[in-house]
Amino acid sequence: MFTHHESLKPAYDVVIIGAGGHGLAAAYYLARDHGIRNVAVLEKGYIGGGNTGRNTTIIRSNYLTPEGVKFYDESVRLWQDLGQDFDLNLFYSTRGHYTLAHTDSAMRTMRWRAEVNKHFGVRSEAVDAAFVRRGIPGIDMSCGGHAPILGALFHAPGAIARHDAVAWGYGRGADRRGVEIHQQTEVTGIRVQGGRVVGVDTTRGSLATPRVLCAVAGFTPRILDMVHLKTPIYVHPLQAMVSEPVKPWLDPIIVSGSLHVYVSQSARGELVMGASLDPYELHQTRSTLDFVEGLSSHMLDLFPFLSEVKVNRQWAGLSDMTPDFAPIMGVTPVEGFFLDAGWGTWGFKATPVCGKTMSHTVATGHNHPLIEGFTMDRFARYQLTGEKGAASVGH
């Protein structure tokens, strides 16, 4: 699936830092749509070993802001054909997605999201408690008696997919078109002269390039230090856990805004569960017991019959958070340095559209229209996006 390259070439037209879904997607579209093949993707670990392999695989477009809805809707559109494009089964499964509301103010926000979604042709509805009860068999509508469900935002296109497979698909597609993927190759420096990128230093040697795309999620600040750029990005761990496989009983994806938990059942029958961000900055993917305890308690609030289901494994990733829960994408003050970051807890679903828009941006040197709301300089202009109300959990 992936060609092994003995060494780095002395120069490339584009260097992409990070062989996760985003980086490989960008490489794929650069090669396929823009004819730019002299590309190296540098990965310090193994393909998809960062957040691409750690997320809870939820894909949706039920965001709050017009720029967000349009962006993620395009992503969902691209997801539909990805498996076929790759000739690889991504297990893309449309399941329906419920964001449960337990308070008036939550219902209000759900309606807001539904209205904005509908305006742009995205299928979402604010639904009542009866609809929730019918759509989610077995759910405890009283949530353990302390947070009754009033209704939800129901998003029919909500889906899950096999996360690693996306990286493999994009990676293979890029590899076949001549892109070089170098694993176990860590970037140690980026050379800038006269305000423009000229090259990259790595643990396997140096190379020259006029264009660098940084797509490294939780490792973004370290790369930004190399080009002396500052952003609002702060890094906290995000944990998740998975149960033993059981026979299918849960079709839709469930998120609770008040309990700050979410769950879906994978094709293998495992319950994939997550909750909110860890409360303090840390660059480690360690697990904690209180995470698993709190999440387990809330799982049983929602689905009390799961008492005997066992937790098999827990893990974590590093989330690069931003103050407005929207990414930071596009050109930067350093010429030739492009950024795809600030993906926090919302990055996996955007994999295809990031690849598309960032490849366009790198190829043309100008931000793709869909990412104009996500520029790095929006904070200086106090033009933050309003997405905090639509992140499922995390704050």
Partner: protein, 971 residues
Amino acid sequence: MYRLEAGPDEWIDRSAPLPFVFEGKQYQGYRGDTISSALAASGVPYLGRSFKYHRRRHILSFANHDCNTLFQVDGVPNVRGDVTLVSEGMRASAVNTFGGLVEDRARLLDRLARWLPVGFYYKAFHTKRLFPRWERMFRTLTGLGAVSLDAARRTTPKRYGFCDVLVVGGGPSGLSAARAAAAAGARVALIDESLRLGASGIGLHDGEQRATRALIESVNGSPAISVCSATVAAAYYADHWIALADATRLTKMRAKAVVLATGVIEQPAVFRNNDLPGVMLASAASSLLLRYRVAPGLRVVVVAGNLEGYRAALGLHWQSVRIAAVVDLRADLTAEDAAAAAECAAAGMAVYRSHAPYEAIAGADGVVVALDVAPLAAGERGEAAGRIDTGKLRRIDCDCILMSVGWAAAANLLLQAGGTMRFSDALQQFIPSSLPAGIFASGRLNGVYDFEARVADGARAGSAAASHAGFGSASGADIVRAARCPSHAFPIVDHPQAKNFVDFDEDLQVKDLENAAQEGFDSSELLKRYSTVGMGPSQGKHSNMNALRVLARHRGVGVERLGLTTSRPMYHPVPLKLLAGRSFNAERRTPVDAEHERLGAVWMPAGNWRRPEYYAVSGETRTQSIEAEVAAVRGSAGLIDVGTLGKIEIHGPQAGLFLDRVYTGRFSDLKVGMTRYGLMLDESGVIIDDGVIARMSADMFYFTTTTGGSATVFRELQRWNALWGLDCALVNVTGHRAAFNFAGPLSRELLQPLTDADLGEAGFPFLGVRTGRVAGVPARLLRVGFVGELGYEIHVPASDAGHVWRALHAAGLPRGSRPFGVEAQRVLRLEKAHFIVGQDTDGLTDPFEANASWAVNMQKPFFVGQRSLRILKTRGPRQTLVGIELPDPARMPKECHLVIEQGAIAGRITSVAYSRTLNKVIGLAMLSPELARTGGDLDIRGERGEILKARIAATPFYDPKNARQRPVAAA
């Protein structure tokens, strides 16, 4: 398999037979039997079906290290039969079968295996048309046990434990470590998964058994050692915080030092049909025999790659089990091996050296009936495996094959704790390389195999741990690792027809892993993720090591060049009920909660408080009640509990200056006895909270925050105070005081008799604050304007709240006063166009957008958010808050319906309600500034996409001149 006569130290009680049902048939076990041992004793030929190919399976590890024996028991899925006790009347069945264990329709998949290679999932049925149907089928086939939506929630209380030294593992080195630590003076907790201590020390070797029992006695006799048996150390967390899971609860153990004596996990040999019923690990046979007196078969073959293989053969032989042959993969034997081999031969066993198991043969019922073996010519230097001479196959009849080819370190907890392992070529196992402070390893985990050496190693680790915890000093003894190699370097035999399983949970064969590596998934992490090796419920306990060997061979490197995949909690899966425990959810109630209940309050959540939404009155609908409450406030009087508001006191000479800095308005010039509205921003200029500030004296202010903001606002104010170091101090009195708003045109008249404060307009003007007694209770009274009527916010100590509430309520009742709730209050404040932070404002709203510039004093030298407001002022607002009205309550938009202008979103409704007072629908909306013209028209998209016409209205809607709030008392 069959039950032998009683033996010493058996774990079953033959005087207590227990009938139970498996797959619809009656069986009997004894008290103490596990489900697997009882079924094995009953001669049941196979106990389960494998995950993918639905092949018949029986016991493999008998140590909770595999998933061959997962059962659905009385509605509980995925019960581990090997370690779960049988109970009377239990009803069990195999998981993941279609039509029962015997008739399982999915067994057809075994025949299709050729067309279901690894990665098959990724390469088939992925078109948009086929996938949904394929996925439905796939999902039905996957999943092991089943959940029942009717099962009741189980709560299990948790427990905390504290010790100086935690020892995980009750085998010889663990027992010794516990003893040594206790001797040094430490309090020790000793954890073991099994019901009884001893682990591998209680095996087929008499001498080791005796020595181990002596250790157990010594441990049991020590008051400093707490033993937790039948307990799994499931996970290690920071600062030596270990999750211990037993059958009934989770214990959270804090230790000062941890000894990991977790031992090693026996590994299977890989050869064609190594998964047949009757093929198991030698340690499984040993446990079955000694604990449950179940013989593994009538004619047993031992596949050996180490000395332990011979020992197992001899041990079983002395327990009257017939060993037909020992098949040793190795060519070179040590003197010890040779002596043991000779003993075996003398006992009548056929001994084959340098032979490989090539294929196990199944009989009619699927159970093994023979093993084909082939000579193994020694491999050349660099070859992992020898070359098999398939021309010289020999068939050995047997009904049981025991595998004794080596072990893998049970290093999960050690790795979770941040330790590292390195591969020892000499031992063919990973051993500890670096250990973090406070973590110690001993015994076979540490590569120490000789019994005496294990005991000594345990003592070394125990004393080192005790010393680390502050007791005694470390013995400093050396670690004596095994001189011989206990694990075969490559117990894997290729076969052209495959079915040589590396991972029994996932049904992965050698070629599956090779194909994955061939595709480019050739690091241990990628191999795992693509092939799913090690991703099943046993998380690779007996597959990771062989998978690494296959990968190493494929890449032509040594195992040491490959990394281990990440070890994560849990070591064994832990049920949600144990982790959830009893689930405590904090709920806050105001001091007069019982009064509301008595008055028929219908509750709603407000943060973690509950508040009355409205008060239900018989004969009234909800809408009627709320309208009546509003009408009471406008017409006579109403009483609302606002006790959920945050309440803070600030004391000190610089209290006013502090408030000047944290609010947008000026408070240092607020007169004593007056109040002022306060708007609070964050550093980016966004509104985060609001409230009312009252100056009680020169040096003391009393102010409120929103209900939702009280804790975070107080905390943030404390931080500013710590940073600025002004001469003032903050006190959070939220819970200390109750607060009621008694509002309406009759409020002054009704309140005056209850209070000694002079409520006359001149003496107590609008926005004033006074102290006095209300119903005899010391109180602070504030004249505030939230609902737009003459009214008094009365703050009293929580302990007297009920008395005051009842007095106010009783005073108002004869004159038509009603208690009113949150919904009525929302309407009342909307009629005055007062915004609610977090409803009419969002996470980006600044004061300019909220039309609250009047509350902002930019002339002050500094306040939080000021500098950002200067920037925002030049940028101009992105939206603005306006009042709107609509004529017809039957065509009313909802909150968050959008304002549409020329097909684009131009804003949204933030608050809306029908006002009976004004007989129209009123609301607030956030709107593009270009549209915000009083009198202008708006299009609002309603529930079904219809357009509702609204008009922008001047605000406040009700009593624009605020005359109602400051009427002069009747003469």
